[in-house]
Subunit: 340 residues, 2 copies
DNA sequence: TTTAATTACGAAATCGTTTTCGTAATGATA
DNA sequence: TATCATTACGAAAACGATTTCGTAATTAAA
């Protein structure tokens, strides 16, 4: 009546527990006939091995954690899809942790993961507050992890990122070509690698085209929605001439659209905007939004592949020095929002 | 040098393993002084209890599973956010499984979860193929689960759903009031409770207003994107007069928008459309999309609360007969896509 | 035929916690 | 003072699977 475990199988078959276990794992020590019997009964009784007993003994959980800033975000959902596609193949389980962009929460989550609950971690950092201790603890504990999109470059761990600098440069040059005179970079915070690289590309392009510093603006919108709305609205209130906005994240572009609608600014006539985004509706917006689109699914897939490779090689000689950094390319989609 | 476990703490403090364990759990058997010592050393050595040993012994995992059809979907991401908000409070972990709308995959996932890996399951069903065996196995194993959005009504489990029938009725009446003469219901499949209820509301409204059957069309688009594009495109090719579309899911509305753009159908002039959707950009589309918006976050939150309540009461007398069904309301947002 | 190797299994330790049960030592009660 | 209750702890048995090690029985090699 109770749960069916190895002991029960063993008793039923007049075998020892060890024999049954070995049979289930197709050990060479067990003869084919016995294996068949065991497998047959296991199937018949619908035997399901207790994952905790197994994990405890083998010291491996067949589980990975994904730590992301937020989930209601096209980019991260797509990344998870990519991760899941790999994990599923390898029969791994995926735990999701959301930091809500709060570095302290990320720290707390990672610290919790030190207990061995997972075999590896995929992280998109919520911005370091100069406190990288938790990453070092992961390394010390020998728990493999891989950064994606938002990496901490000080930490010796593989990362899967995109060509943010080049994309930023390209997007900005596009705005310049479309005769913008004033330029805004919408940032979430200055603590996130990917966003900073985009900003670097933005600034480099403007320098390269000798744009005057006084025509260049950086808005750090932060993660509070109300505040960022206000910040952007205030900036747009006396609308700078021929304004070109480069939004580092989708959310801020969407907010800008809402504000433009609200205070009746015409895109692209009075304001041009291009944004990093994985919006499936970018082409359907009014006007269609020009985007830099990251290969989100691939990012997740490649990051997961890297992680599983690390997990597999855990016993092997530490080749930690060879730090793989995979850089994927974003794609520029020019649409109406940056038309002349 | 090695992992710090209870045994190590015990040795260090000249205490027994049991005493340390009890101290860590603040047992009344242990005097305050000893507790303090244990806690202090635990903190100092950064002791983290092994979750598998604990789970094995207590037969509880502090983990729940969320089984969803897809993740790159605003509705489900928001639901997860709601779930996570509750789980985090209760220090539970959240495993995510994606069925990709394939009932067999759902079945396989659920069967796997029978091994006790999780204390409970939240499910949005991928449509039953008349095979509910896996749900019955969950019940038999005593693993609590709660349906959300897409429930299987034959199964005796709590569910958190929305007023799909009423919403469908309301949306359809809205299309009727806007003088549509032909009506289309865009469905994913006829195996999903929520979608069928929406369809029932759709049909009831049309009956109520004496709309001729020949002006009513049901399109089952299925989950294959290419196929559904074709199906919709073909239907729109000789465009029925004064067409009103009620899309049961966001994705199909977005596809319809793409097609209208492609073959130059003007919304709302030639075609009016309203859709269930949690798109943050619904108001920014060209034209702004009228939507029925489900309280996705609340759905997740309430479903999780229900589940945790079930988990907590697991030992108690089975009040399984009292089947809680929580019905939340969707909100109708009328926008340009259904203007006259 | 004797010895060595192989085959096929079982006993028992182990993973780290939790929990039951037992018991010294102390304090309270009659 | 004798008895009982309480306090504060320890020994050991779980939880279920894995793995090491040992060993009969059989087969192969010398």
């Amino acid at each position: 009546m109770e749960n069916v475990n190895i002991k029960k199988l063993a008793k039923e078959l007049n075998l020892s527990v060890s024999t049954v276990s070995k049979a289930l794992h197709d050990s060479y020590e067990i003869k084919a006939e016995t294996k068949e019997k065991v497998l047959a009964l296991a199937k018949q009784l619908n035997y399901q091995p207790n994952p905790f007993a197994s994990s405890l003994r083998r010291n491996s959980s067949k589980t990975i954690a994904v730590v992301i800033p937020e989930i209601a975000h096209n980019f991260f959902s797509l990344v998870i899809n990519g991760i899941e596609s790999v994990a599923e193949d390898l029969k791994y389980h995926v735990l999701i942790y959301i930091t809500h962009e709060i570095p302290e929460k990320e720290e707390q989550i990672i610290k919790h993961l030190l207990n061995g609950r997972v075999d590896g971690v995929l992280i998109s950092s919520s911005g370091s507050t100069n406190n990288n201790a938790h990453y070092h603890e992961l390394i010390q504990k020998g728990i493999p992890f891989v950064f994606f999109d938002r990496a901490i470059f000080d930490i010796d761990a593989p990362r899967v990122i995109t060509d943010d600098y080049q994309a930023g440069f390209q997007a900005t040059e596009h705005l310049i070509n479309r005769e913008c005179k004033n330029f805004v970079f919408l940032s979430l915070s200055n603590q996130m690698s990917a966003i900073n690289h985009r900003k670097d590309g933005f600034e480099a392009a403007l320098r390269h085209h000798h744009v005057n510093q006084s025509n260049i603006h950086i808005l750090e919108a932060g993660t509070d929605e109300t505040l960022s709305f206000q910040l952007i609205r205030n900036f747009l209130k006396p609308l700078p001439e021929l304004l070109g906005i480069f939004s580092s994240v989708e959310k801020l572009a969407v907010q800008t659209y809402h504000i433009c609608k609200e205070i009746d600014i015409q895109i692209p006539k009075q304001l041009k905007i291009i944004s990093f985004s994985n919006l499936p509706t970018a082409a359907l917006l009014n006007p269609a939004l020009s985007t830099l689109t990251q290969p989100a699914f691939s990012i997740g897939k490649e990051a997961a592949k890297l992680l599983f490779q690390r997990i597999k090689n855990k016993g092997k000689i530490q080749n930690m020095t060879s730090l793989p950094q995979l850089v994927l390319n974003s794609t520029l989609f020019i649409r109406e929002s940056t038309q002349i």
